[in-house]
Symmetry: C2
Subunit: 393 residues, 2 copies
């Protein structure tokens, strides 16, 4: 383990190892080998280039290629992953016969290379096991999520202060990014899935709120260029437009998600009402989001409320609709669980979930709210406490 960590982090990492090791044993494997940044961060508390070797029982080993100079118990320098076999032997550990590798995160060629390190060993995919473990935050992680959400919400509550009439969506977005960064946001937007990407978040104004995107986010936006077709499109903010600001909070490596909606002057009654329905759906989902609640049931609850409000046609998109109303968040913006159609996920205490009922009103724009919650025994508690009312700019 790397030296210099505070005691509470050391203790928490032990808890994470224990949870993951229980799953490794359940999968009948001898060890799990981690190479991806996100899972290294989860299981070692930092990013390094190399492998974390977690046997089914006992302490993990840290095989570090870069940076030089990292030290601590079970920390071993290597030049290449092929050295894992001999280094384990030198440490007196048995060679694993069945290993779990990150089949979703590792490139195919990296997977094959790592699978060949232990002669004759059988390699399987451990990615979904890790995703399921990461979905349920430890007490330490919940504290980090809570601190993140508080800082995030504080910045969001100041978004209106940097608006100036006549701005484009991009000009306002740049000011919002600046507010976030000056408040300590690290900027990086980590997302699972090879084809998902975005800059720090999106500001969707007017009909760009319903623009279709290749990415699997709740709403898309056309983006500024075909090389990054998501987010603001360069339109000038004009009276009657709804503008939705959805920028992630990343102050300590964990992401919170929070969206607020603004009107450039007064918005039409249907948009104001849809925004209110979004707030009501979010509240209902948060109340119903107790341990044991199903991801699909929570989505159905949200969809049913949208239907009864006569707003199903513009719920979660226009021409292209997201089939979810919420998603886990943490080290990546799209953790488990999914609150969506056909989701088999079941809520557990400690899950952190962004709930984002959104509507796209043609000719006006996207309205609604998004907040990040932690699941407690009595339902979801918001981690991003700031006023969700529609703000008139």
């Amino acid at each position: 383990m790397f030296s210099g960590y505070p005691d509470e982090l050391v203790k928490d990492l032990s808890e994470r190892w224990g949870r993951v090791q229980a799953c490794v044993r359940e999968a009948g494997a001898d060890a799990l080998i981690i190479s991806s940044n996100v899972n290294l961060l989860y299981l070692s508390g930092r990013i390094f280039m190399g492998q974390l070797y977690l046997p089914a029982e006992g302490a993990p080993w840290f095989f570090v290629r870069r940076p030089c100079g990292l030290a601590g118990p079970n920390v071993v320098e290597i030049r290449k992953p092929e050295q894992l076999a001999e280094r384990l032997a030198e440490a007196g550990l048995p060679q694993p016969r069945r290993v779990l590798l990150e089949g979703d995160e590792l490139g195919h060629s990296d997977f094959l290379r790592l699978a060949a390190v232990f002669a004759g060993a059988e390699a399987s995919n451990g990615s979904s096991l890790l995703r399921r473990c990461r979905a349920v935050k430890t007490p330490y992680e919940v504290r980090v999520m809570r601190m993140t959400g508080a800082r995030h919400a504080d910045v969001v509550s100041r978004f209106a202060t940097v608006y100036e009439p006549g701005m484009t969506d991009q000009a306002w977005a740049v000011e919002l990014f600046g507010l976030m960064l000056r408040a300590g946001n690290l900027g990086l937007f980590r997302v699972a899935g090879g084809s998902m990407e975005a800059f720090m978040g999106t500001v969707l104004a007017g009909d760009n709120g319903g623009a279709v995107s290749p990415y699997d986010f709740a709403l898309g936006g056309a983006g500024l260029h075909p090389s990054l077709p998501v987010g603001q499109c360069g339109v000038r903010l004009a009276p009657g437009m709804a503008v939705m600001a959805d920028i992630a909070g990343n102050f300590y490596g964990y992401l919170t998600d929070c969206t607020r909606t603004y009107g450039i002057g007064p918005l039409p009654p249907e948009a104001v009402r849809a925004h209110q329905v979004s707030i009501e759906i979010q509240r209902a989902v948060a109340q119903a989001g107790v341990p044991g609640a199903g991801g699909e049931a929570l989505y159905s609850l949200a969809l049913g409320m949208a239907e009864r409000a006569g707003l199903a046609g513009c719920f979660m998109g226009g021409a292209q609709k997201a089939r979810f109303v919420g998603h886990g968040t943490g080290l990546v913006i799209n953790e488990l669980p999914v609150l969506g159609a056909r989701s088999k996920d079941v809520l557990e205490e400690g899950m952190c979930i962004a709930v984002e009922p959104k509507f796209v009103i043609p000719g006006v724009g996207a309205v609604g709210v998004e907040d990040t919650y932690v699941v407690t025994s009595s339902g979801m508690v918001s981690l991003t406490p700031c006023d969700g009312a529609l703000v008139t700019l």
Copy 2:
């Protein structure tokens, strides 16, 4: 092909297909299937979710899951990659028997899924073939790189205007990011390799210039948090510090790289001299960088000049050194070729290469310059024209 593209882009994409198809035939394959954003952008001019199917001969096909509504010749909507087989059959195309997939970019599980689409077909790794093709820019791509570099250099030339005494490295970096974004930089920093990541770039002040990082960039920096150990570390800019600003330019999906160095007040003579040596090395590498020059030879040229200046010990890092002095850039910041130790790459006309001889002066910081060049018949020509002299703040 997607409708609505300008003629010159359509023509250029045809040239790219032709180059890649020649390599596909040389590899003895029937088709190449693309799923990753970067290669989709390269071969289709935009990002979509789905697959581009490039047969060894004839026009490519575009199988689109998202966004809805994309249209044009050979554009086919799908719900899942398994439909490729039947859609090709419907189009009267033969089923491929040997396919190339993106073995480096695709996750292992995605690779296996795609490899199983065509019953009995043999799947190999086409990633390096694509990387080699992408390394040599088409005339259209060179124009985009040139436009990118010009806009990039224009912003860099204004970096000093947003400096204020007493700032931290991060405070200045945020102002620089803001300048970039307001000038139209899209922000996204695309990089190849699953474990490489950074925000828009780095500002390395004082001894943070020599801080070791897990990432394989020329210099690292400790970063603000263990979850992103690269870049500025929060130090206050103080007299006598060298500060190196290295922020990517991404205005049209192609990245240029440019680094400039600043002194907080006058710097010691050894730092001033090392900066001058960096400029001389860069000039020598650019002159020697004609078609046919080897990546290793150019690195040796640079290293030799550093040695003769008595600066080998602080060339390209301190405790941890990069073993390269330049790298291709384009759709990702780390394209081929590599100008480095053991590189077998050979320069060709149209390659775009960032040359970044840098020195880390203990107690002062990192000094040096970086510019992006295009290889022409008579050597490298800078795409990021702005004064490289050390700037005293």
